[in-house]
Symmetry: none
Subunit: 224 residues, 2 copies
DNA sequence: TTTTATTCATGAAAATCCTGATAGTTGAAG
DNA sequence: CTTCAACTATCAGGATTTTCATGAATAAAA
């Protein structure tokens, strides 16, 4: 677990670093915003502990910037400013948590743990659609049914994504044609049928529980 | 291994120098801060052994300064001041280790070894992206696949860096064009294709396991 | 200038997508 | 239980799109 501490007071910074390292975190210190940015480019930190008052760009701006570059990187803001307005400003800048100095280290540690945990969870699920034992990886553009890896073409992928995002609902051929093919009211084609068939071969064939069901006269449903 | 000893007492300085040279280190002495700075500019030292009480700028300030100029250069502080506050001041100034006089040479040697080793480790990984047997050196702007050295042009480098930082993820031509070329929504160019092709020739051609994979209809993925 | 790096333009090759025909199902009416 | 029309599944091929690889043109650097 890699942690970046952005803090210009060497005492505070090294105190936190030490404490974290005692808890088996891998912590590094940046004494100003620019260094922090550079380090973020170099490493994949799991969390950033960020002081608001730092040399250069300033903590709030830095936080905003980082949130654009690394949306899933949790930021714990750390500062002496303790009014509600200050806190709100921090959260507006995208902070995930806000701790006012002075603080007990135990609290900081607890909050860090929570942030890492939740970030980890959301990061893992945010890129995936999961229904039953079928998993669609939106980053890798692949699927996994149970333990078998499935490669999909672009059209198959968008069709499956549409199905999974509307699982349980009956989708007419027209709904599907509109959303996946951007065509409407064209009854001269059977592309939808054909592609549903392709998908079935890939994700249902050989598996006990079928996920794509046809509803005669209506269209298709996805799910179990 | 080049070591700089910053120490104004000639007796102590030459004692350390001798000891280090006996252990096959290449040691030099600076008797004041100014000289030390100059020498650092001229040579790439692997570690600095720094006395706090030296003529001129003073050891603590010098340490801070050096740490800004050469953040990864380890500093072992050496001094007669042994209180906790003194030590903390040393660490605050950026020292990587702090040894109180009088000391046994064996201990100094051991600490020097450790510092060089850890600096080496962090220095080695800090500038590198490694995926499978491909290593991208961010400082030298070169790559290495297995044992073969690969030279890259500027664009090839940024493309490969973007690939490696997003390994496993499918990157669309647009993603790539945006991040590497700073152009968006320009479908009239095939630069991305061309450069992916250049990269393939350099890092994949002749190797068994390909690292750049095209996902027809989606873009490219990097990794194995 | 010469060399090197980058971009553009092109056609061939490959993968994907779609069409249209046929075969198979379903379920309501007889 | 049959029949039959409407609906659905499947397949082969050809059309289309996407990607690869190359050489030439332009821009930048030595």
């Amino acid at each position: 677990m890699k942690i970046l501490i952005v803090e210009d007071e060497p005492k505070v910074a090294s105190f936190i670093k030490k404490g974290l390292e005692e808890n088996n975190y891998d912590a590094e210190i940046a004494y100003d915003g620019l260094t922090a940015e550079k380090l973020c480019k170099q490493y994949n930190y799991d969390i950033i502990i960020l002081d608001i008052i730092i040399p250069g760009i300033g903590g709030l701006s830095l936080c905003k910037k980082l949130k654009i570059l690394y949306p899933y990187l949790p930021v714990l803001m750390l500062t002496a400013l303790g009014t509600t307005d200050d806190k709100l400003a921090g959260f507006e800048a995208g902070a995930n948590d806000y701790l006012v100095k002075p603080f007990e280290f135990r609290e900081l540690l607890a909050r860090v743990k929570v942030l890492i945990k939740t970030a980890d969870q959301s990061h893992e699920t945010i890129n995936k659609l999961i229904i039953a034992d079928l998993e669609l990886d939106l980053y890798k553009k692949t699927a996994r049914r149970g333990s078998t890896h499935i490669e999909l073409t672009a059209k198959e992928f968008s069709l499956l994504e549409y199905f999974m995002r509307n699982a349980g609902r009956v989708l007419s051929r027209n709904d599907i044609a509109e959303k996946v093919w951007d065509i409407s009211f064209d009854f001269s084609t059977n592309v939808v049928d054909v592609y549903v068939n392709f998908l079935r071969k890939k994700i249902d064939k050989g598996f006990d529980k079928k996920l794509i069901h046809t509803r005669v006269g209506f269209g298709y449903t996805f799910g179990d």
